[in-house]
């Protein structure tokens, strides 16, 4: 085992920029620096590059027209704009919105804001399998439901949601459908027409693009109240001088994801299964958190019972391994992961959750290294616990 080994298992948090993406972007920060809204030469160059990026993104997600693509500062802005911008445009005087209870905070935050302003919001609970079931949505829909937002894949559990069915149910009731696809686009097939959605959120830095860039897909005809106002850029939907280099970075990153998507799905699924099986066979009282079979290929989320997450994370860090956890102590919040609690995971188990997420540069050797260093860490922490034997029976393997 090498002491200076670095194993990055947190691709769901962020990814390094692919050198090919960086190469495509770089000229637009220096010689091709023009403002895409200027009429002279360098401005037109920037405009053409921006519009080219827009068309490429539209093509990559199956959008009918490039103008359905709005470049933003990232996933959080896209989520905020979708929830507030659509709801307020359609129902300025109040109405009902449904979001799933395990959405990212970038959805829950604006949903709380709407609630404060007098809108009714339903936080629809997924079931224990980590999936929002269409029957549950059907019983939550009301006549005055304006918008439904359910993420395409959950960012912690990796569970993939039945968006096409959920969208059909929303539409049958007269509501629009938004999905946050920050975690799934590029990882698995994603087509706005096949899914039948009206709006979607994307983030560049989850797919080897730069941070600070995102996209809001808004199907043509969806009413929208801009959340950032000013010069009227992005078809009057998002003011502010466009980040041309960033837009090109996102378009390039997305195309690279699609280039070898099916090979990567197979390879990463293999790595994930090796990881999950390896942990379960090396350590008692461990399990995959959400039981749904339909999960992202690159996220393994496990409950390591009787261990606190931050202490696991720190000990893994000492071995050069980067992972994340839903424990309260690591997040700085008072409660463990709202995602785990939403699927009925007891608090004492949620503190011991571990998310390992894999990506383009993850190798089989990385998994082997993890499986070598991880069990002793868990066994040591369990041996140090005053309650492990009492709570979970026999001593650690």
């Amino acid at each position: 085992m090498s002491d200076n080994r670095f194993v990055y298992f947190d691709y769901a948090a962020t990814t390094p920029v692919d050198p090919r993406v960086l190469d495509a972007m770089t000229p637009y920060f220096t010689e091709l620096f023009g403002n895409a809204n200027s009429l002279y030469g360098v401005g037109r160059q920037a405009f053409n590059a921006l519009e080219d990026a827009r068309s490429r993104v539209a093509r990559s997600i199956g959008a009918a027209e490039p103008r359905e693509i709005i470049f933003t500062s990232g996933g959080t802005e896209s989520d905020n704009a979708a929830i507030i911008g659509i709801t307020r445009a359609i129902a300025p005087k109040g109405g009902h919105v449904i979001v799933s209870a395990f959405e990212h905070h970038a959805i829950l935050g604006p949903a709380h804001l709407l609630e404060k302003d007098g809108y009714d919001v339903t936080y629809l609970r997924p079931r224990a399998d980590g999936v929002v079931h269409v029957e549950d949505l059907q019983s939550a829909l009301r006549e005055d439901t304006v918008l439904v937002s359910v993420m395409h894949a959950n960012n912690e559990l990796g569970t993939i949601q039945p968006i096409a069915e959920l969208a059909a149910a929303a539409h049958a009731s007269g509501a629009l459908m938004h999905t946050d696809a920050a975690q799934s686009v590029g990882q698995i097939p994603f087509n706005v027409v096949e899914l039948g959605i009206d709006a979607a959120t994307f983030s560049s830095h989850k797919i080897y693009g730069p941070k600070g860039v995102g996209v809001l897909y808004l199907r043509r005809g969806v009413r929208f109240q801009p959340q950032i106002n000013g010069g009227g850029q992005e078809f009057k939907r998002r003011s502010g001088t466009q980040n041309v280099g960033g837009a090109i970075g996102f378009a390039t990153a997305l195309e690279l994801m699609l280039e070898d998507q099916s090979e990567e799905i197979a390879r990463l699924t293999g790595l994930r299964e090796k990881f999950e099986k390896g942990v379960i066979s090396a350590l008692e009282n461990t399990e995959v958190s959400a039981k749904a079979d339909n999960r992202l290929p690159n996220i393994a989320h496990m409950l390591i019972k009787g261990v606190e997450g931050e202490s696991m994370l720190l000990q893994l860090d000492a071995k050069g391994v980067a992972v994340s956890t839903g424990s309260a102590c690591s997040s700085g919040s008072l409660e463990p992961s709202h995602v785990l609690l939403s699927i009925g995971c007891p608090q004492e188990l949620a503190h011991g959750s571990l998310r390992a997420s894999f990506g383009r540069f993850t190798t089989e050797e990385d998994i082997d290294y993890f499986l070598e260093v991880f069990p002793p860490i868990v066994n040591r922490l369990r041996a140090m616990s005053p309650v492990y034997d009492k709570m979970f029976g026999s001593s650690a393997k």
Binding site: E308, S311, A318, S327, P346, M384, M391
Partner: protein, 153 residues
Amino acid sequence: MQYSEKVMDHFNNPRNVGVIDDADGVGEVGNPVCGDMMKISIKVDDDSISDVMFQTLGCGAAIATSSIVTEMAKGMTLEQAVAISKKQVADELDGLPPAKMHCSILATDGLKAAVDDYLNKNGREPISGGLAHDDPNFDPHAIEPEEVCDVEG
């Protein structure tokens, strides 16, 4: 948020881990639902702590504060031991991040509980003055405003 080198040392190499089989006093505080739990056992000789061991389930700060409190308590009189404050524990570790100050309460409360347990077993009155964990309104994860603004204060 970043831990001091001393916190990381006590987290990675915790001192005095385990259980004293013939302990004179045992303190158990915390709750797995909150993610923090500590058990501490002491040997008492002439009203001084002659040996002390701990077990802790919790985050890095919980384990490090447990470890350092056992080092601090060894050799102290019972009065001195129950007077150890969460600030002294944090200072001894070269500080704790504001969000982690509450973790040291686990360690000081654990020690107080062990001392009172010893006294109780010997028919004597408790001297700790009560535990933060016994207060029904105690929130182990609460961040006190002054801790955020002024850790030294």
